[in-house]
C-alpha cells in the first residue's frame, strides 16, 4: 500500500477551491460596484446629484423597503417566498393609525402592531409547514386577507396626529455638514445588522441556508427544519410590521391602498442583491444594496424630469434589465449550481 500514499494536492487545485469560495460573494459585490457606478453616472449627468444628501435620501425614503427586503431575504434563502409583505405593511399602518386615533399609547400601539405582524407571519408559516401548501399560494392568500382587513378597519385614510409618531416623522438626526438622516434609517440599519448577525452567527441562521441548499438533506442532517421554516415567515411578518411602523413614521397616516405591489419591489431588491430565488445563496447586505439600486433608479427618473408616465415604466424596466445583465456579466465565471 505504500505506493498509494497520497501526494499533496497540487497548488492549482486549492487555489481553485479558494476562488470558488470567494466567488460566492461575486453577485453581491457586483451589485455594490454597479451601485457606485450608477451614482457616478448620475453625478455626471445631473447637477446636484453628487451630494451626500442624495445618497442619504435613498436611505430615508426606503427605510421600510430595506426592512422588508431583510425579512424577504430570510424567506427566499429557504427557497420560499412571501407575497403578503406589502399588505401586512398596509395592515400595520391601518392598525397603528386606527388605534392612535382611538387614543392608545404609541408604545403600546407599536408593540401590538409588531405582535400582530409576527403572528400573521407565523400563522402563514404554520399553514405552509403543516399542510405542505406552497408558500406562494399561502402568502398570496395572506396578501388578500391582510389587504381585506385594511378595508374592514377603514376605507378612508386615517391621519396620525400622535405626538410621538409626529416627532419620529419629523425628527432629523444631523450628521456632518448639513447632512441629516431620519430616525427610521437608524432603525432600518439596526435591523440589517441584526439580520446579518442572525444569519451568520447563529445556528438558526445557518439552518436557513441549509434548508435553501436542500430541504430533505437538512432534515436528514437532523436540523430543526420545520421550526426554522415557520420562524422564517414569522420573521418576515415581523419585518413587515416594522416596515409598517416605519412607513407610518414616513407618511403619518394609515391608508388601505398603501404599499400595493411593495412585495414585488422587495423581491426584486433581494434578487438584484444577488440572492437566488431557489434558495441557499445570498446575503442580507446584498439585499440592502438591491434596495439602494431600486431607489437610485427612482432618483434618476425624478432628476431626469422629462419622462412621460409610460417612458417612466419603460425606463425602470430597462434599467432593471441593464443592471441584471451587467451583474450577470461581472459574476459570469461563477458556477453556482
Amino acid at each position: 500500500m505504500s505506493v498509494l500514499t497520497r501526494t499533496p494536492a497540487p497548488q492549482g487545485r486549492t487555489r481553485i477551491s479558494r476562488l470558488q469560495g470567494k466567488a460566492r460573494y461575486a453577485p453581491t459585490l457586483a451589485t455594490v460596484g454597479l451601485f457606485l457606478a450608477m451614482f457616478a453616472a448620475g453625478a455626471i449627468m445631473y447637477p446636484g446629484f453628487l451630494s451626500g444628501q442624495v445618497f442619504l435620501n435613498l436611505l430615508i425614503d426606503n427605510t421600510f423597503l430595506i426592512v422588508l427586503a431583510v425579512g424577504m431575504t430570510f424567506v427566499i434563502l429557504t427557497g420560499g417566498i412571501d407575497l403578503s409583505v406589502g399588505s401586512v405593511v398596509a395592515l400595520s399602518m391601518m392598525i397603528a393609525a386606527a388605534l392612535l386615533q382611538a387614543g392608545w399609547n404609541p408604545i403600546a400601539v407599536i408593540a401590538l402592531v409588531l405582535l400582530t405582524g409576527a403572528t400573521f407571519g407565523l400563522l402563514m408559516g404554520l399553514v405552509i409547514q403543516v399542510f405542505e401548501i406552497q408558500p406562494f399560494i399561502v402568502t398570496l392568500a395572506g396578501l388578500f386577507l391582510a389587504r381585506g382587513l385594511c378595508y374592514v378597519i377603514s376605507v378612508d385614510s386615517i391621519t396620525v396626529t400622535d405626538p410621538f409618531f409626529t416627532a419620529m416623522a419629523q425628527a432629523r438626526i444631523p450628521l456632518t455638514g448639513n447632512l441629516f438622516i431620519a430616525p427610521g434609517v437608524v432603525i432600518a440599519l439596526v435591523v440589517v445588522a441584526i439580520a446579518f448577525y442572525v444569519l451568520h452567527q447563529t445556528r438558526f441562521g445557518r439552518t436557513v441556508y441549509a434548508i435553501g441548499g436542500g430541504e430533505s438533506s437538512a432534515l436528514l442532517m437532523g436540523l430543526a427544519v420545520p421550526r426554522t421554516k415557520v420562524l422564517v415567515y414569522g420573521i418576515s411578518g415581523l419585518c413587515s410590521a416594522i416596515a409598517g411602523i416605519l412607513f407610518s413614521f414616513y407618511s403619518l397616516s394609515g391608508y388601505s391602498l398603501a404599499a400595493t405591489g411593495l412585495e414585488l419591489d422587495a423581491i426584486a431588491a433581494v434578487v438584484v442583491g444577488g440572492t437566488l430565488l431557489t434558495g441557499g445563496y445570498g446575503y442580507v447586505l446584498g439585499s440592502l444594496a438591491g434596495v439602494l439600486i431600486l431607489g437610485i433608479v427612482q432618483t434618476f427618473i425624478s432628476y431626469e424630469g422629462t419622462l412621460s408616465s409610460w417612458w417612466t415604466r419603460i425606463v425602470i424596466g430597462a434599467l432593471l434589465l441593464a443592471f441584471i445583465l451587467l451583474q450577470k456579466l461581472f459574476s459570469r465565471k461563477v458556477k453556482l449550481t
Binding site: 401548501i133 399561502v138 414585488l264 409610460w310 434589465l321 441584471i324
Partner: protein
C-alpha cells in the same frame, strides 16, 4: 371510491361545485341558462366568457411553471396585444371591416410571440432568473402599451373584432371556444408529442436533462413563446369584450390569478408534473369566486377577506397532506418520497 378521494383533482372540482351550489342557494335561477338573441344567456355563461382570458393565460402559465419558470409579464403582454390591435383598427382607413380586424389580430399575435421570444431569450439564453426576467417586461410592458395608445383608452367599433371577446358561435361564447380549443391543442401537442414529458424533465432536473441530451434551451424558449401567445390572445379577448384597449388596466393582476389557478389545479411551482385539466378547474374556480362575490352582494370592503378565506380553504382541501390526513395514510417524511398521483 378511495382512489377517487385521493385523486388530486377531486377536491378542486368539489370546491368548484360547492361554489356553484352556494350561488344557487342565494339566487335560485343562478344555474339556469336560457336562450336570448340566439345565444345562451345566464350566469354560467358569464363565468365561462369572463373566465376565458384567465383560463388561456393560466394554460400558458402551466407549461412555464412545469419547466420550473414563472411568467409575470402576461398581464403586460395582454395589455400590449390589446393596445396594438385596437390602435391599428382605430387608425386604419376602414375601421369596421373584417380585414382590418384580422390584420389587427395578427399584429397582436405577432407581438405576443415576439414578447414571448424575448422572455425566453432572457431566461434560456442569458440565464436570468425567470421571476426577474419577466418582471422586466411586466414593468416596461405596460409602459409600451401606453406608448402605443398614447395613454388613452382606444375605443373601436368593429363587429368581427368584438366577436372575439363578446360574440357567440352556435350559442356559445367565442372566447370560451377559443380557450377550449387552445387547451385541446396544447393537450394534444404536449401529450401526443414528447413535449410534455420533456418540459417536465427540464422542470424536475435541468442538469440531468441536459446530460440526457435534451435541448433544454429550446424547450424553455418554447414555453415562454407559448405563454406569450396565450397572453396575446387573452389580451385580444379582454379588449374585444369591452371594445376598447385600456393599456393601464387590461389584464392587471391577471398573472396572480393565473398562477393561483395553476397551483389550485395541482401543479407545483417547483416545476415538473403538471395538469392542464387541473389548471382549467383552477381558473374556473377563480372566476366563479369573483362572480360569487357579486351574486352574494359581498360589500367591496370585505371582498378580499372573503376571497382569501375561500382560497385558503380550497388549498387546504387540495393539499396532499390534508388528503392523507383524511385518507389516514402514513407518509414518509422526506419530500423526495412524496407519492403523487398522475392525471
Amino acid at each position: 371510491m378511495n382512489a377517487l378521494l385521493k385523486h388530486r383533482l377531486t377536491w378542486p372540482v368539489l370546491a368548484l361545485v360547492l361554489l356553484l351550489v352556494l350561488n344557487q342557494l342565494f339566487r335560485s335561477d343562478f344555474l339556469s341558462v336560457r336562450v336570448q338573441d340566439g345565444h345562451l344567456y345566464g350566469s354560467l355563461i358569464d363565468i365561462l366568457r369572463n373566465g376565458a382570458p384567465t383560463i388561456l393565460i393560466a394554460l400558458g402559465m402551466t407549461l412555464v411553471i412545469a419547466s420550473r419558470g414563472i411568467d409575470l409579464s402576461v398581464g403586460a403582454v395582454a395589455a400590449i396585444a390589446g393596445a396594438v390591435s385596437c390602435t391599428y383598427i382605430y387608425n386604419s382607413p376602414d375601421p369596421t371591416s373584417l380585414r382590418t380586424a384580422a390584420i389587427g389580430v395578427s399584429i397582436a399575435v405577432v407581438a405576443g410571440l415576439a414578447l414571448g421570444l424575448w422572455n425566453g431569450f432572457l431566461v434560456a439564453v442569458i440565464g436570468i432568473q425567470p421571476i426577474i426576467a419577466t418582471l422586466v417586461l411586466m414593468t416596461a410592458g405596460r409602459g409600451l402599451a401606453q406608448l402605443v395608445t398614447d395613454g388613452q383608452i382606444i375605443s373601436v367599433s368593429n363587429d368581427p373584432y368584438q366577436a372575439i371577446g363578446a360574440g357567440f358561435f352556435l350559442g356559445l361564447p367565442i372566447s370560451i371556444l377559443i380557450a377550449v380549443a387552445a387547451f385541446a391543442v396544447a393537450g394534444l401537442l404536449t401529450r401526443r408529442t414528447a413535449l410534455g414529458t420533456l418540459i417536465e424533465a427540464v422542470g424536475i432536473n435541468p442538469v440531468a436533462s441536459r446530460l440526457a441530451g435534451l435541448n433544454a434551451r429550446t424547450i424553455t424558449w418554447t414555453v415562454y413563446v407559448f405563454s406569450g401567445l396565450c397572453a396575446a390572445i387573452a389580451g385580444l379577448m379582454i379588449s374585444s369584450n369591452v371594445t376598447a384597449a385600456d393599456a393601464n388596466n387590461a389584464g392587471l393582476y391577471i398573472e396572480m390569478d393565473a398562477i393561483l389557478a395553476v397551483v389550485i389545479g395541482g401543479t407545483s411551482l417547483a416545476g415538473g408534473r403538471y395538469s392542464l385539466v387541473g389548471t382549467l378547474v383552477g381558473a374556473l374556480i377563480i372566476q366563479t369566486l369573483t362572480t360569487t362575490v357579486y351574486t352574494l352582494g359581498i360589500p367591496p370592503e370585505v371582498t378580499l377577506v372573503f376571497k382569501a378565506l375561500v382560497v385558503i380553504i380550497v388549498c387546504l382541501l387540495q393539499s396532499s397532506k390534508a388528503r392523507t390526513l383524511l385518507g389516514k395514510r402514513k407518509r414518509p417524511l422526506t419530500e423526495q418520497a412524496e407519492v403523487k398521483v398522475a392525471v
